[in-house]
């Protein structure tokens, strides 16, 4: 294992975050606060409790997932697309590194940023609603699995994209709708039957549901199904990223 390479890539990616530390912290704190003001206080005060949980508290897991999914995909895709765009990727491609080391470096850094961001959002949320986490270890496990698998997904998008437009299209046209329709702000049980069934094809439903269970022991689908789905998604992403690096898809000519 080339640990020095993992460290080099990881530190390099993290350095980008440190350079823009204020923006990195301010953005999630401000946007989360806005969600709570609008959905938690203004609109949320007129919505009845959902399965015994106040609406403001109900949306906390969804808001964390909303940010972690977006940030994981954006950070990882940008992290690999930028060196492709500037040409500096040549160094990684000519270095004695395996696909595992490349992924550990890029995906590890993107996932770390997302996890720090999740912590910030949870801290911000605690100022607006009394937070209770029934299963903190399970919550952390869900966070890590989600951050890693969606950072991997972002890495795949970054390798696949050959223009800035393509880099944006998947997060905007696929990820964001899936998150909003995945039960971030509602329980899928609140939907008509047909839409409940359709929602089960949305992988984000399983993430949010499992994550919410770790907070309130209430979920739209079984906890084990959630864990299985996220593990399956993680495995698919690893295999796809491995194939891309090994064959040099959109990396080598």
């Amino acid at each position: 294992m080339n640990f020095y390479a993992i460290k080099a890539i990881y530190n390099f990616e993290m350095a980008r975050t440190w350079r823009t530390l204020a923006e990195s912290i301010a953005t999630p704190v401000v946007s989360t606060s806005l969600y709570f003001v609008v959905f938690g206080s203004a609109i949320g005060s007129r919505i009845t409790d959902i399965e015994g949980i106040t609406y403001a508290a109900f949306i906390v897991p969804g808001l964390v997932m909303l940010s972690i999914l977006n940030e994981s995909v954006n950070n990882a895709s940008f992290g690999v697309y930028m060196p492709k765009f500037t040409g500096t990727i040549y160094e990684v491609l000519t270095a004695p590194v395996s696909y595992i080391e490349i992924l550990c470096g890029y995906v590890g850094a993107a996932a770390t940023k997302s996890l720090v961001l999740s912590a910030l959002i949870l801290i911000t949320a605690s100022f607006f609603v009394p937070l209770e986490i029934q299963h903190p270890f399970l919550m952390v496990l869900f966070l890590i699995l989600t951050a890693v698998s969606f950072s991997l997904f972002g890495f795949i998008i970054g390798v696949w994209a050959d223009s800035w437009a393509k880099l944006q299209i998947i997060p905007m046209l696929v990820i964001t709708p899936l998150i909003f329709l995945g039960g971030s702000f509602y329980s899928i049980h609140m939907l008509p039957d047909i839409w409940q069934k359709i929602s089960l094809f949305n992988p984000v439903v399983y993430l949010i549901s499992g994550f919410r269970w770790s907070f309130y022991e209430q979920s739209d689908v079984s906890l084990w199904v959630s864990l299985m789905m996220i593990s399956a998604f993680l495995t698919i992403c690893i295999l796809l990223a491995r194939w891309m690096i090994k064959t040099g898809y959109h990396l080598r000519s």
Binding site: N2, Y4, A5, K7, A8, I9, N11, F12, A15, R16, R19, P83, T86, G87, T88, Y90, E91, V92, L93, T94, A95, P96, V97, S98, T247, G248, R252, S253
Partner: protein
């Protein structure tokens, strides 16, 4: 002695069907400076890309220090340093940070003394805290070299290392390349400046349309293909070559005021003495004599044109 780099039957055809390399066979010896010459689009950068891992081979076999570049990629890539043609740098990174990054990427433990020495040799030490954005083009080129040297490679590829740099910096780089050679580093450089190859290279390879046309030591190349031209400035201009000199392949130049004779010094060892004797006996008087030796550039142009 086994070569440090061996390329056998290498072919590369790109997705669009363009064949960039055609059955390339090349051996590079340890410690030499090898200059790869060729016109634009000849396949120089593709060849380097195949060895360094940037380009997938269509067919063929490449070994570095006896190790296969695919099976033993960790070993071979550790031995190779690459300075690509394009100035690809992380604009917001400081010089020291980007050089340390390269060393780590190649699996080397931090070695501040080595990095300091590399930066000092390349006159970059004073700029180590500057971001890449603030450096001139020439300085960025030096940083690219520093990055390649940071992990102590045994084989260094320099793809047009002095493209776009001023004369002073170019000569500075030549000096550094010679120093690397003295340390035992094998250097393979591609260049458009034939003068550079003439100045630096032990051996020269010419590639055109994806094929290696020849590989020769510089001396052999000059001897085999090099020509000399003897020019005599005549006292009186001539309309035609005198009858007595008709058995010599002479030409009149400068409106009959110059007599030209192109010869191969290696093959025609005593011809000049005989020619001068014949000219003297023909009654022609001359004021001055010039001898021009053809340069590598002339040889290169002739070789590429012939193909």
């Amino acid at each position: 002695m086994s070569p440090i780099l061996s390329i056998k039957n290498l072919n590369k055809t790109f997705a669009g069907g363009f064949q960039a390399l055609k059955n390339v066979n090349l051996d590079i010896h340890k410690g030499e400076i090898f200059a790869l010459l060729g016109p634009n689009g000849a396949g120089k950068t593709t060849l380097i890309g195949c060895v360094t891992g940037l380009v997938n081979l269509t067919s063929g076999h490449i070994t570095v220090d006896g190790h296969d570049i695919y099976k033993d990629y960790r070993k071979t890539r550790k031995l190779i340093g690459l300075v690509p043609q394009e100035l690809a740098v992380e604009m917001f990174e400081p010089v020291l940070g980007t050089v340390n990054f390269s060393r780590g990427l190649f699996g080397m433990a931090p070695h501040p003394a080595h990095v300091e020495s590399v930066l000092k040799k390349l006159s970059l030490w004073e700029k180590r805290k500057n971001s890449m954005l603030t450096l001139s083009g020439g300085m960025k080129r030096r940083v690219m070299i520093a990055k390649a040297l940071s992990h102590e490679p045994q084989v260094l590829f320099l793809d047009e290392p002095t493209a776009g740099v001023d004369v002073e910096l170019r000569r500075d780089m030549w000096k550094q390349i010679r120093e690397l050679k003295s340390l035992g580093v094998t250097i393979i450089l591609t260049t458009h400046y034939i003068e550079e190859a003439e100045e630096m290279a032990d051996r020269v390879g010419v590639i055109n349309k994806g094929e290696i046309i020849l590989t020769e030591t510089k001396q052999d190349l000059m001897q085999k293909f090099g020509k000399k031209e003897l020019l005599l400035d005549l006292e009186n201009s001539l309309d035609s070559i005198p009858e007595k000199l008709s058995h010599w392949d002479l030409k009149l130049k400068s409106e009959g005021r110059r007599l030209s004779y192109i010869y191969d010094a290696a093959k025609e060892e005593y011809s000049i003495a005989r020619l001068l004797s014949d000219i003297a006996s023909s009654g022609l008087n001359y004021k001055d004599i010039h001898v021009y030796q053809s340069k590598l550039e002339d040889i290169f142009i002739e070789l590429v044109k012939d193909k």
